[in-house]
Symmetry: C2
Subunit: 175 residues, 2 copies
Amino acid sequence: MDVRTACLGILTRGDATGYEIKKLFEDGPYHYFVEASFGSIYPALGRLTEEGLVSVRAEARAKRPERKVYSITDKGRRAFVEALTGPLPEDRFRSPFLFAMTFEDLVPNEHLKAMLDHQIATAQSRLVQLEQSASATNRGQAFVCDFGRTMYATMLQYLKQRRSEFAAPVLDAAE
Amino acid sequence: MDVRTACLGILTRGDATGYEIKKLFEDGPYHYFVEASFGSIYPALGRLTEEGLVSVRAEARAKRPERKVYSITDKGRRAFVEALTGPLPEDRFRSPFLFAMTFEDLVPNEHLKAMLDHQIATAQSRLVQLEQSASATNRGQAFVCDFGRTMYATMLQYLKQRRSEFAAPVLDAAE
DNA sequence: GTTTGCATGTAAACGGTTACATGATTGG
DNA sequence: CCAATCATGTAACCGTTTACATGCAAAC
């Protein structure tokens, strides 16, 4: 999903500044399947404003830089629902890890072990985060959260199960 | 993984033309976690040649356009192993589907049903493809293939299990 | 007193896709 | 006869990232 549409989505849930939108992408339940930097969020918000899909009000605050609070308009709301209703781009999973594993025979065993351990640690921490995350506020959020838990749990199980097969130390039996 | 590195990887397995590399990305076991278009492959190959990481020989064939067969050089092989050994970019899963599900309350139930069914059908066909795919030629390929099978199987199970919850027809009980 | 958090934005560079241009061969 | 496959490449465009520029307030 492009940043434009993602911002529009966030704003259907309530007003926000560009800064807050970034926070929501990072910390919120969207974290696992969308992401965006300031360099894409601010221009997107500018364009959405031009097109009348969102409106801005500048809040001047004593001794701090002004903040621009964005609200979605009716037109924006309609455009967003249209985007959700139309054909969605396909999900894509890009995995440098799996790519590297394909060339496992070219990588020294020591590094292979490190790679697998890193992958396990990452999956583990993501799973923990998902399990600790606040219970969802609606059906959709619950669906997505459970999806993530299920997938990461499976991934973790698979990686752990297969690890020994690849990382069996040959000489260093003590470790 | 960028197209450059991906091409280099393919060429560690044997010589190929730009056209064949694209085919391998599309049909081979890489399909699920890398992709590239001609517009990125040809320039990448050109740059790799300039840098001496690959070499080209032009095969002129009677009455057909010439083909340029690329081979990886020793320098290229070393560069590739270095890329695999260095820190890898993080895996990323971008899911317009999950994003849309988060806003399930804004989408008409009929469309939600279609979305889920589409997702189920996609996962199903990918799983079938993976299950039918030729058995891997090495440990790494087997690992990756099984990874895919495991993940898609889990995804499919989850989607099917949850479908009723979301798509329960309200009026059209006959369907 | 230094780091973190809040807050906005721009410009250049990057990597990639899409569309275009070309053309012969093979299979239905 | 038409579509698909083989085969190469370029140019325009697009969205995004990275780095830069700025600055105050609060927490440590």
